[in-house]
Symmetry: C2
Subunit: 297 residues, 2 copies
DNA sequence: TTGGCTTCATAGTTTCAGGTTATGAATAAC
DNA sequence: GTTATTCATAACCTGAAACTATGAAGCCAA
C-alpha cells in the first residue's frame, strides 16, 4: 500500500515550509481541509507522524525534517523532467545514429558532420557505413535513427526524402580523353570495372548498360571506388563514379573524366527512416540540412 | 499544467522495460487501455513523444531513453522514503535534543549518554544545561525535544514522567560530623549556603526550612554545588546537596555528610516534553531508560 | 471565567481522474 | 484474403480528492 502521491509530497513540502495548514493550502491553491486530509493520508501511507500539531504551531517532527530534505530533491528531479522535455521538444536529439552507404560516405560525411553539429552543438553523432541492406535491417531493429541511401527504397515501413540527384561520370585512362563518349550500349561492350555485389551503385551502373544485374563478369570487381579508379589509371579498363566522388578520387591517378550525353545515368540520394519514428519533424529538418549540403548550396 | 503523476512514471518504467503495452499493463495490474491512456497523458504532459509505436514493437525514443534513467532514480528515491519510514517507525529518533537542569547534569549525564547511545548507536545527542525556566521556554519553542527537571512542573502543555526520587543530605564542616543533625527549623537559623536565585534546588531547600523563597540573605549564594561544598569545607557555613551529588562533590573538601531524619527533604527528578510531541511513545521508552540509570538499577 | 478568535479536524457532497469492458484500426503472418 | 496480434478509442463506472459547512481545542483579552 505504497500509495505515495507526488501531490502529497508537494503538499508536504508546502506545509513544511509554512508551518501553517491554511497558508500552505493557499500556496497550493486548495482549501485547508484538503491539505489536512492529504497530509494525514501521507502520514498514514508512511506510518509515521510528520508534523506535530499544537494549538498555534505546526512543527516538523525529527523524521519529518529528514524527509523534507529527500522530498525536496525528489520534487526537484521531477520538475527537471518537465524542463528537460520542454528544452528538448522539437530539437534535434542529442544522440543521432545515422547510416550511410559506402558510395556516399567518404564524399559527404565531412560536410554532413559539420552541418549537423551546427544544428546541435551538443550532438553525439554515430555514423555507420555499410550497404543498403545492412542499413535497412539496422533501421528496422531500431539501432539506427536514419540512413542516407540511394532512392527509391520502396519499402512501406520507411519514409524517404530526396536529398539530391547526381549524374554518373565516365572514368577512362588519361590517354582516352579525346575519344567519343560511349552510350550505355557501347559501354556494355567495354571492360567496365564495377564495385562488388551488394553495392547499389553497381546495380545502377549495370542498369544504365541495360545489362542484367547477375551478368557473369570475369574478376573485374573492386571493393571501393578508389580501387576502381586506380585500376583505370593502370589501364585495366573504364568505370563509372558518381559526380560527388570526382574531386576526391580522380586527383591521384592518370585518368580522364567525361560526362555522358542524354540520357545521362544518375542516382537520387535520399534520407530514410522508419515511418513510425516520432522524430519525423526533426528528421525532415535534418534532411533539409543534408540536402543543402549535398547540393553544395 | 505540470500534472506529472508518480503513477504515470511507474507505468512509464514498466513499459520502457517490457516494450509491450499488454505485458506492462499486466505487471502494473491494470488493463491495457489504462496503460495506453496514462502513457499518452504522460507524453502530453511533457509535450514529447516517449515511445515509438510500430505494429509489433514499442521502442523508446532517444528522449524517452534519457528520461528512463532519471525516472528510475526518482522512483528509487520515492521508494526509499517508504523504507526509511518503516525503518524509523517507533525507533528512537536519530537526533535527540535534551535539556538538563544544572543540579542534575554533572551527576547523571555520563550514564545518560551511555544508556541512550545503547538504545540507538547512531544517536546524535544534543544536551543543553540551563535552569528550568530556560528549558521550558526551549521546549515550547521546539528547540528541545525533552528535558530532565525537578517535578512537578504542572504546566498543561507538558507531559511529565518521574524518573527517580532522591533525598537531600546535609553537608557540614568535617569538624561538625558528630553534632546532632538539625531539622528544618534548626537549619533555618544556621549559616545555610545556597545556590543563587533561579535554581529550583534553592527553592526546594528553602521550602524544607519553611522559609519564604524571597527571604533576604546576606551574600551566601554560590553558583554551583561544587562552590557551595568548597565554601563549607572552608568553614563558612553548611549546605544541602542532592544524594546523587555526594560522590562527585564531597571527595575534595574536609566536609561531613549526614542524612536527615523523617521527614527528609527530597526532590523528584522527571522527564518532560510537549504534550503534543508525536514522539511520545519513544519518549516514554527514553524515560524508562533514564529512570533505571538514575536509580542505578 | 467567559466570549471571541484562530486554527486544525471532520462530515457531507460533488467533480473528475483513472479504471473497466467492448470495440476499432493497422499491420504482420499465414 | 484471412487471421492474429497489438495499440487506440469510446462509453461507462468507481473512488480519490476537492469544496463548503461545521466542530473542537486552545489562546487571548476583558
Amino acid at each position: 500500500m505504497n500509495n505515495l502521491t507526488l501531490r502529497q509530497l508537494r503538499y508536504f513540502q508546502a506545509l513544511a515550509q509554512h508551518g501553517h495548514f491554511g497558508h500552505a493550502a493557499a500556496m497550493c491553491s486548495i482549501s485547508q481541509p484538503a491539505m489536512s486530509v492529504q497530509i494525514r493520508e501521507l502520514e498514514e501511507n508512511l506510518g509515521v507522524t510528520l508534523f506535530e500539531r499544537s494549538a498555534r504551531k505546526v512543527r516538523l517532527t525529527p523524521f519529518g525534517d529528514e524527509l523534507a530534505v529527500r522530498v525536496r530533491d525528489i520534487l526537484g528531479a521531477v520538475d527537471e523532467l518537465g524542463e528537460l522535455a520542454r528544452a528538448t521538444a522539437g530539437k534535434v536529439p542529442d544522440r543521432l545514429r545515422i547510416g550511410v552507404i559506402p558510395t556516399v560516405a567518404p564524399y559527404l560525411l565531412p560536410a554532413m558532420v559539420t552541418a549537423l553539429t551546427r544544428l546541435n552543438p551538443a550532438l553525439d553523432l554515430h555514423v555507420r557505413e555499410t550497404q543498403t541492406t545492412g542499413l535497412l535491417r539496422a533501421l528496422e531493429q531500431g539501432t539506427l535513427d536514419a540512413a542516407v541511401v540511394a532512392l527509391p527504397v520502396s519499402h512501406p515501413a520507411f519514409t524517404e526524402v530526396a536529398l539530391c540527384e547526381e549524374d554518373f561520370v565516365l572514368v577512362r585512362p588519361a590517354a582516352d580523353a579525346d575519344k567519343p563518349v560511349p552510350d550505355g550500349e557501347a559501354l556494355r561492350r567495354m571492360r567496365l570495372l564495377l564495385l562488388e555485389e551488394g553495392h547499389c551503385f553497381r546495380d545502377q551502373a549495370l542498369a544504365f548498360c541495360a545489362a542484367p544485374a547477375n551478368m557473369p563478369r570475369d574478376g573485374l570487381d573492386g571493393s571501393s571506388l578508389t580501387t576502381l579508379v586506380q585500376m583505370v589509371g593502370a589501364g585495366i579498363g573504364v568505370t563509372l563514379i558518381p559526380e560527388m566522388a570526382i574531386g576526391l578520387e580522380t586527383g591521384s591517378a592518370p585518368v580522364s573524366v567525361s560526362r555522358f550525353g542524354h540520357p545521362a545515368p544518375k542516382r537520387t540520394i535520399g534520407l530514410i527512416w522508419r515511418r513510425t519514428n516520432p522524430l519525423a519533424t526533426q528528421l525532415h529538418t535534418i534532411a533539409e540540412v543534408l540536402g543543402s549540403v549535398s547540393r553544395r548550396d
